[in-house]
């Protein structure tokens, strides 16, 4: 018999409605898996078993009355960036020690309204600043995948590393995540999962700990393209509490899954063929092109000439907005406070003790580029470069329906391997960050394994508010790749 933790969300939805099993049984199976695995993988910073079982019991009651929501009884993990009412939320920062939100984020409220069950809060890079989950105050989450013949611990990507690792290790059926420069898609690529960053405005940002407000978007990480579609539908909504949330109907994304790519034109941007790209990444990309062509899509080369400027302009915009957003952590209203001789030294000591090295680095860069005399040279310049990046995409989308690229320049690296040089770590986002700068939707789909036996992903980029085309094309790649390899369970042993 299939273990309950092996089911997809779509399968579990059927099983719950047919009463093959209950939400309590499904939830219990996941809680037991977390219990044996969390010490090794460090994916949950706060499991919430009691709440999970209460929510599962309520779901079972609704299921028996035939009142099931779209995610009724489905156990999910929640990135610790989402405020959850009455449940500690820290963004994995020391400065938010013990913060218990008196409100619920709109995205999670939408999930609970559809009947989903919360298993706990998932690890992430501190304030979502990182590409490896190594900047978390709670220590790094660990990738369930390992290199062939090696037991070195690999990073699960970041910042949504707890989300990607928990989904890959079957410690939840799906997870919420957020993406400011690649934080959903890069971890999905590193763990063989599906990750989708929707169009800016598709999901409300209300109640999500803010990093860079003009770039942040919530989205799902799941094990299949269909599951990602089911989750995105439930997460999306127009929210008057977020003035940047789009007042547009939310399509039935799941209906797009399986429609195929016949008649679609897929663009291949020549500027993504970067110097020093591993031959296996190039080969994977060519394979993806061949799969889409075999499924009936037309392939067309496109040009996105400002691609190389996306990452440097991102490292102005994101730190600038972060320095502004993180000004609120001052030891007065919530979280950590370190005493000082006067109020200024209290602020300084609190922020010195409460922020980690990467967060300080970005707050200081952001403070510098926004300081008197530098605003035009840096922030305004970077916002103008965003216009050029967006224009590149607008022109490309005149002739194509979606764009295919690799998700990352390489597979998952080992913990500690890239911790020395911040710039080297930033390069992880080279293929994903353009999408945030332009506000477009992007999806990473597992497409194969590296020479080291670890997952690799391909990225699909769509027109604004056209996630449906990504689900169509994503499912074609998923089916053609047929990645059936799973990480061998080394993490449940000896606990």
């Amino acid at each position: 018999m299939t273990r309950l933790t092996d089911l997809t969300i779509a399968d579990a939805r059927d099983g719950l409605r047919d009463k093959t099993f209950s939400s309590r049984e499904l939830t219990q199976a996941h809680l037991e898996a977390i219990e044996t695995a969390n010490a090794a993988l460090n994916v949950y910073v706060l499991p919430t078993p009691e709440r999970a079982l209460e929510m599962a019991a309520a779901s079972d009651a609704r299921l028996s009355k035939g009142e099931a929501g779209a995610l009724e009884g489905i156990p999910l993990g929640i990135k610790d960036l989402f405020c959850t009412k009455g449940v500690r939320t820290t963004a994995c920062s020391h400065i938010l020690d013990g913060f218990i939100p008196p409100y619920e984020s709109t995205v999670t409220a939408n999930l609970w309204a559809e009947g989903a069950v919360m298993l706990g809060k998932l690890n992430n890079d501190e304030f979502a600043m990182g590409s490896s989950n190594e900047t978390s105050f709670y220590g790094p989450a660990v990738n369930p995948w390992r290199r062939e013949g090696s037991d070195a611990k690999l990073v699960p990507g970041g910042s949504s590393g707890g989300s990607s690792a928990a989904v890959a290790a079957h410690l939840c059926m799906g997870a919420t995540a957020t993406d400011t420069g690649g934080s959903i898609r890069q971890p999905a690529a590193f763990t063989g999962t599906v990750g989708l960053k929707p169009t800016y405005g598709r999901c409300s940002r209300w109640g999500i700990v803010a990093f860079a407000s003009s770039l942040d978007q919530a989205g799902p990480i799941a094990r299949t393209v269909r599951d990602a579609a089911i989750l995105l539908k439930a997460m999306s909504s127009h929210d008057p509490k977020d003035t940047t949330s789009a007042d547009l109907p939310v399509p039935d994304f799941e209906a797009a899954v399986g429609q195929g790519v016949k008649g679609l034109t897929i663009g291949i941007p020549k500027e993504y063929r970067v110097e020093g790209m591993a031959p296996e990444i190039e080969a994977l990309w060519q394979q993806g092109i061949a799969w889409l062509k075999d499924a009936g899509a037309k392939i067309k080369e496109v040009s996105l000439p400002h691609t190389k400027y996306a990452l440097p302009s991102y490292y102005i915009v994101a730190p600038a907005e972060a320095s502004s957003n993180l000004a609120r952590y001052d030891g007065v209203r919530y979280g950590l406070r370190e005493p000082g001789s006067d109020v200024i030294s209290m602020y300084e000591n609190t922020r010195e003790a409460g922020f980690g090295a990467e967060v300080k680095r970005r707050v200081l860069i952001g403070t510098y580029v926004l300081s008197a005399g530098y605003y035009d040279a840096y922030y305004l310049k970077a916002q103008k470069v965003r216009t050029l990046i967006k224009r590149d995409f607008d022109q490309a989308f005149e002739g194509v329906d979606a764009i295919l690229t690799p998700t990352t320049p390489g597979p998952a690296f080992a913990i500690g391997e890239k911790a020395g040089d911040p710039l080297e770590m930033y390069l992880n986002d080279i293929f994903t960050v353009t999408v945030n700068m332009a506000g477009l939707p992007g999806m990473s789909v597992p497409a194969g394994l590296s020479s080291e036996g670890t997952p690799l992903g391909l990225q699909l980029i769509g027109r604004a508010f056209d996630e449906e085309t990504l689900f169509r094309a994503g499912q074609v790649i998923e089916a053609a790749a047929g990645v059936s390899a799973k990480p061998a369970d080394w993490w449940s042993k000896g606990v």
Binding site: T243, A246, I316, R351
Partner: protein, 95 residues
């Protein structure tokens, strides 16, 4: 070096983050490295380009100017490190 030690100290003060001498030295190198790298944007002529302010043309919604929330002082102070009744307590500011 595009930023020197004094500049690091000045922006740390602006950002209200206390830093040690050791951190200041490390940050001088790191911040200069990042700022030198972003300087490649100077290659682009953006004199006739408008800054991007939104992803899609969208009219900003305005709601009626009426009270929609409130009467939750307990919730607001609940997470504060130091409170007195419904006040946040900070070190003395005015002698």
């Amino acid at each position: 070096m595009s930023v020197d030690r004094a500049t690091v100290r000045r922006i740390a003060r602006l950002a209200r983050i206390a830093i040690t001498d050791e951190e200041a030295a490390r940050l001088e190198t790191e911040l200069s490295g990042i700022l030198d790298w972003v300087a490649q944007l100077d290659e682009l002529d953006t004199s006739n380009v408008e800054p991007m302010t939104r992803v899609e043309a969208m009219t900003m919604k305005k709601r009626d100017d009426e009270i929609t929330d409130g009467f939750c002082a307990d919730d607001i102070v609940k997470n504060a490190p130091q409170v007195d009744d419904h006040y946040f307590v900070v070190p003395k500011i005015v002698e």
